[in-house]
């Protein structure tokens, strides 16, 4: 998860709108089912959690299993009561954490 995740939000946004947020992050999402040529299992390593908070309040959470594809694309919705910060966190099995904050300004 070394590259910056991509986040798309629509514009303009009015207070009270419900918007769709689209996210994309690079990650191998290793399932734990694969084996190397000499039969050794490649250990599982996936992003297991994604949490989105707007001004501190949780708006969406995803608990992911190996059935989610590599380079997870996640699109969710949120109500926008007013301007604020949308903070998104991705956590993987290796303990790596990526946090991306997007400022939302209502017109």
């Amino acid at each position: 998860m070394t590259t910056k995740p991509r986040v798309r939000i629509p514009s303009p946004i009015k207070a009270g709108d419900v918007i769709e947020v689209k996210t994309l992050i690079s990650h191998v999402m290793e399932t734990g089912q694969r084996k190397t040529g000499d039969g050794k299992v490649i250990p599982r390593n996936i992003i297991h959690s994604f949490i989105a908070r707007f001004n501190g309040a949780e708006v969406f959470k995803a608990e992911l299993a190996p059935g989610i594809s590599a380079n997870p694309y996640l699109a969710f919705h949120m109500r926008v009561p007013g301007s604020g910060d949308l903070e998104m966190t991705w956590l993987d099995d290796g303990g790596n954490k990526v946090v991306e904050t997007v400022k939302i300004a209502v017109t």
């Binding site: 694969r34 040529g37 608990e63 992911l64 299993a65 594809s69 699109a75």
Partner: protein, 160 residues
Amino acid sequence: MLQCKDVCVVDRREFVLGAAAAALLAPLLAEPAVAQGKGPENEWQQLLKRIMGDATPTAGRIALELPEIAENGNTVPFNVSVESRMTESEHVKAIHLISTANPQPAVATFRFTPASGKASVASRMRLAQTQDVVALAELSDGKFLMARQAVRVTIGGCGG
């Protein structure tokens, strides 16, 4: 050289469960291989039961969009949504996505609050082979909704 066996059923089924997966999958360990005639079919039903308890789900109000034919089992786009006003008193708490024939049945659990505005999520899933995908929605009043969609997978996760 790596073998492309990321989603195929393999002879030796060794599940490496992380903490999050353990919470979702609980005692889904050492299930017999498909060859024995049991296999994943029981696992996904057990998972549904664990989520719902004694409740019986109803059909309707939950839309599970998946391609009828998936050309690449490694990345099958989906969209799942439930009609709901998403108010404090009446909203969708979670949507669980379950595979009926992958090595592990749990695909994802999406959790919502009234601040979500809409109980709708899109992503991409892995499908090891042609199978049904099940979506189970948990409502704030304790009720469950269920939808099931068949997907034909032409090229499974192994490019075969």
